[in-house]
């Protein structure tokens, strides 16, 4: 029996955010490639996107007054957790096809797990968000699972 996670909180597992659709532009790929110091021409010229480009493409664009004091935006997919302090998490990405300039992509995020573990300094809450990115016509592009830890 979990001490921190109520049945109401766990009922959020399976919740999805409304899908987001974005157009990939050569300019956005080029900016990302320069920012990350890519050296391959296909990335610097913006023909193909580097493997982590989707993070920039789908980062939430919110108005300045919607940011929290630390400069982050509130993720509406997440319930209110009894632990607040976020620790580093892990990422796992499966690639089905590269992203190219002019792609119209759709991202669907789902809260796929919430669980508790006992850490050396107290309880920890883990949650997992799964993001499926596909082309407008439904061709799979990548599947990403992010696990975050709260203490």
């Amino acid at each position: 029996m979990s001490a921190l996670l109520s049945p109401e909180l766990l009922a959020n597992i399976g919740k999805s955010a409304p899908p987001k659709k974005e157009l990939v532009t050569r300019r956005d790929i080029r900016k990302y490639s320069v920012a990350t110091e890519q050296r391959l021409e296909k990335y610097l010229e913006g023909r193909e996107a580097p493997p982590m480009f989707h993070i920039a493409l789908f980062w939430d664009v919110v108005e300045q007054n919607q940011l929290t004091p630390d400069g982050l935006s509130i993720d509406s997919l997440l319930p209110e957790f009894p632990l607040k302090r976020a620790m580093a998490g892990g990422w796992k990405i499966e690639y089905h096809r590269p992203i190219y300039a002019e792609d119209q992509l759709v991202s669907k995020r789902t809260l796929t797990d919430i669980y508790e573990k006992q850490g050396s300094k107290g309880p920890l809450i883990f949650y997992e968000i799964t993001t499926e990115i596909e082309t407008e016509s439904g061709q799979p592009v990548l599947t990403e699972k992010i696990t975050r830890i709260l203490r």
Partner: protein, 139 residues
Amino acid sequence: MSTRLATIKIGDDLPAREFHCNNVQQFFYNAALWNAHRIHFDFPYATEVEGYAGLVVAGPLMGDWLTQCVTEWLKEDGSLLSFEYSNRKAAYTGEVLRAGGKVVSVDPETGEVGLELQVWNEADEVVAPGGAIVRFPVA
């Protein structure tokens, strides 16, 4: 087996690369994301409010560096099937960080090659461990 796959052995090193993350790169990266998290650009906030030793290098930027070790080693000879990493320790603007990796498995039947990846700081501590699976064509 493709010519390239035949040359790959367990224990082979991927070319390591040094990254000198400065304010300009942090600015470009977080602007490309549209990320306003203050720990990356607001020094008094990062150090006084959050207690960090300096401006924190964005976690996924180090993940990106790991993928670059893979894509530059892979060239156009194969494809990236999966990648994973985690942020274990904070890294700071001004530090020299090194990304690299090595081959940990080779499957001549499927053409799949497993890679272990890491970002180290100047004290040789692993700040971001990771791994990837790539696939080369099998003739």
